[in-house]
């Protein structure tokens, strides 16, 4: 019983995610799979960003750079070198992690707005670099031959496979996120978030801890990039390094509750299902962006701590269950 109490936060989080993942498998409908794919992709990206944004308090506006770079490296290996999706995903994750490590050493010395500005700059610089990098197709990008999907049982099977791989990656992100939050390493991050100088005085090796948090938050987005563009069939610089996508990730984390494990899941689910509903609703489809904007405004005005933060404040009984 005490074990259940101890891990209640993780159990609730995994339970929520399981329900989400199982939905398309139960209905077996392709459209449910596609809708859930969009939501799960956001859940995984928002949860990855949460390790840096929520736990460490560093706002990375250009986090999509890892999604784009990983996607490009993996896509190149698949389309030009004929490698499998698995190796490509691994390479995408590693390249994003290495980039984060090198960047972390350099720009994590910056704080607040300066760090946020630097991350935007890095995303733009990477897009400009890829735009002029001929092996990756330059501005034309790369396209995947349709026959590649046959190795995975045809396009239909490949789309289901992408879905299950995405589900597995999302579980991994959440477990990592939970482990970080409940570990000594995570305590160090939370201390940095509250007061970096005080944390250093207390013995937290801030530069190292921050760099590893950055690396952890970059690896999965790199792998997700490969998976997304594999499913998409083509890659170009503009959609791969879309700044707008980074901002959406931040909104999702804030919506659900930054610094919590469950928050990014609820935030991403809420945001993407709202957008999906508005886009396809006969009444709202012409003004869906305006409606989404007003609803976000309402939420940010009235629930600034996010859904999970609000519930934790108001209903103390739930504090153990909602982490």
């Amino acid at each position: 019983m005490s074990t259940v109490r101890k891990y209640l936060g993780l159990i609730v989080t995994i339970g929520v995610l399981l329900m989400l993942v199982a939905w398309p498998a139960i209905t077996g409908k392709d459209i449910t799979r596609e809708t859930t794919f969009t939501i799960l992709l956001s859940v995984a990206l928002a949860s990855s960003l949460n390790i840096l944004l929520g736990y460490t308090g560093y706002v990375s506006f250009g986090h999509v750079v890892f999604f784009g770079l990983g996607g490009y490296v993996g896509f190149y290996l698949m389309s030009a070198q004929g490698m499998s999706l698995w190796i490509s995903m691994l390479a995408g994750g590693v390249s994003a992690g290495v980039l984060a490590f090198l960047l972390g050493k350099a720009i994590l010395r910056l704080r607040g707005g300066y760090f946020a500005l630097a991350t935007i700059g890095i995303n733009e610089a990477m897009r400009a670099f890829i735009n002029n990098f001929e092996p990756f197709g330059g501005p034309t990008g790369m396209t995947l031959n349709f026959s590649v999907y046959r190795d995975y049982g045809g396009a239909g099977q490949a789309l289901w496979l992408s879905y299950y791989v995405l589900a597995a990656l999302t579980f991994i992100v959440l477990i990592v996120s939970y482990l970080v939050r409940t570990s000594k390493f995570g305590l160090g991050l939370l201390a940095i978030r509250e007061d970096e100088d005080a944390a250093e005085v207390m013995g937290v090796n801030a530069p190292n801890v921050k760099t590893w948090a950055y690396v952890l938050s970059a690896i999965i987005p790199g792998m997700l990039g490969v998976l997304f563009f594999f499913k998409n069939g083509s890659i170009e610089p503009a959609p791969a390094f879309r700044l707008h996508f980074s901002i959406e990730m931040i909104v999702m984390v804030m919506l659900g509750g930054q610094g919590t494990v469950l928050g990014p899941i609820l935030g991403a689910y809420g945001y993407q299902s709202l957008r999906g509903f508005l886009l396809t609703s006969p009444i709202f489809k012409d003004i869906q962006l305006a409606v989404a904007g007003v609803l976000l405004l309402v939420i940010v005005l009235f629930v600034p701590a996010g859904v999970v933060g609000w519930l934790r404040q108001r209903v103390p009984v739930l504090r153990r269950a909602l982490q």
Binding site: D30, E34, A128, A155, N232, L279, T280, I283, F284, K285
Partner: protein, 441 residues
């Protein structure tokens, strides 16, 4: 109390938004757009009595960077659909009357949700045929879905060649592919003056323009031209000074390139301000737009490729002369119907492309005498016809199935007319409305 007031304000705002939404969808129905919702689509599969309603699914960029071109494309398609439905649809030999209905969603001009929306169109809305979104990037993503569900998709507004070389079998391109966008300009240049030898390529560094210029550059070299400058610029470039200096140093006889409207027109204006002396100047996309004339003297003599022009004279006679079957309305009939339906707005080639995509599908259903996707696909493979949009014929080899091989660009040039600047078609020779103004003044 304060909180209650705030809630009330937001309540009113939401109510107002819902009201606006309802009234704006009402407005859509008044125009010639028949964009049915998914609810009506589900009921429409077969209403019996020898009548069949075919659902055509596509996404439109109602928001985002591609909004203007995409809207024109959708307007063209909707005009085709409303005209055909008003005329009673297509009559098949078994007596069935086939009419059409559209289901559409906003793709926001980005690839995030395109696959989700096309899956919805194919599986939930039971679309029988698909039309592509606007732009090559979105089309490439939607093509994977169309192919997976075996849905025939006519692409329009998607010029990139690459999509059609990936082993797809149900995708058919209405536009001239990017690789042949500027090659006609080089042919025209060759007929004008054999002394032109040095060519400069200055172009926007994006997927479409790079595809076009790579192919044109290879073609120019094959024709024996010396390429003295090959330079890409960023999409948001506003100062072309450094590029113009390089052009001056290289001393070309002809400049080819450009990208989209904004950069292309700025480039033309700055080139004219610096008085660069070249004989021949051709730009992508910008010159065919009516607003290009606002440049005044800087626009004079500039040549631009267009997928279609109202001036282009494709007629049943030219079809007979070329040994092709003619289908659909005349160019001027399309223009007047379009202007009547959309408050006098002049159709662009995007609009014509949207209408042509519908015509291609219509002719394929007539030729197949069936709405079965396989039969329609076979009819598309065999298609070889002339419409007001131009010649339509698809590649049927496994390497590039569906790639457009019949259609070719028309090239316009801005020349002095009776009331100021006017567009004239200068290439191909059989469609020309005026002699080329050469060399540039």
């Amino acid at each position: 109390m304060k909180r209650t007031t705030l809630f009330l304000i937001f309540g009113y705002l939401l109510f107002a938004l819902i009201f606006v939404a309802c009234s704006s969808s009402g407005g859509d129905e008044e125009a010639a757009t028949d964009t049915g919702s998914s609810d009506t689509a589900a009921e429409s599969a077969d209403s019996g009595g020898g009548n069949q309603t075919i659902v055509i699914g596509f996404t439109a960029s109602q928001t985002g960077s591609q909004n203007v071109s995409s809207t024109r494309q959708v307007n063209g398609l909707n005009l085709w659909m409303s005209e055909l439905n008003a005329a009673g649809g297509i009559a098949l030999s078994d007596g069935t009357k086939v009419t059409f209905e559209a289901v559409t969603y906003d793709d926001e001009s980005n690839t995030d949700r395109v696959q989700e929306l096309y899956t919805r169109l194919a599986t939930e809305d039971n679309a029988d045929f698909l039309i592509s979104p606007y732009s090559s990037g979105l089309t490439a993503a939607s093509a994977v879905i169309a192919e997976q569900y075996g849905k025939v998709m006519i692409t329009t507004g998607a010029a990139s060649d690459e999509t059609y070389k990936q082993g797809l079998t149900t995708i058919y391109q209405a536009y001239t592919p990017a690789s042949r966008y500027l090659t006609g300009a080089i042919d025209l240049m060759a007929t004008l003056d054999a002394d032109i030898t040095k060519v400069a390529f200055v172009y926007e560094n994006d997927k479409f323009s790079t595809d076009v210029v790579d192919a044109a550059l290879a073609y120019a070299e094959e024709k024996g031209y010396e390429v003295v400058l090959h330079e890409g610029y960023n999409s948001d470039t506003t100062d072309f000074g450094p590029f113009i200096n390089k052009i001056q140093d290289a001393g070309p006889d002809a400049i080819l390139g450009g990208g989209h409207f904004q950069d292309g027109s700025t480039f033309a204006r700055q080139l004219s301000e610096k008085n660069i002396d070249v004989d021949f100047f051709a730009l992508l996309v910008a010159p065919p737009e009516p607003d290009f004339a606002d440049l005044g003297d800087a626009a004079l003599g500039v040549i631009g490729p267009s997928q279609w022009e109202p001036l282009a004279a494709f007629t049943p006679d030219s079809a007979a002369a070329a040994g092709l079957e003619w289908f659909g309305p005349l160019g001027e009939e399309f223009v007047s119907a379009y202007e009547a339906a959309y408050d006098g707005e002049e159709p662009s080639y995007h609009s014509a492309g949207g209408y042509a995509a519908g015509l291609i599908l219509q002719q394929a259903i007539i030729a197949a005498d069936s709405t079965d996707p396989e039969a329609v696909g076979a009819a598309l493979d065999a298609m070889d016809l002339l419409t007001f949009f131009g010649h339509i014929k698809f590649d049927t080899t496994a390497e590039a199935h569906g790639l457009q091989i019949g259609h070719s660009m028309v090239y316009i040039q801005w020349q002095e007319g009776a009331d100021g600047l006017a567009k004239q078609v200068v290439w191909p020779a059989e469609g020309a409305t005026a002699e080329t103004l050469f060399p540039l003044p």
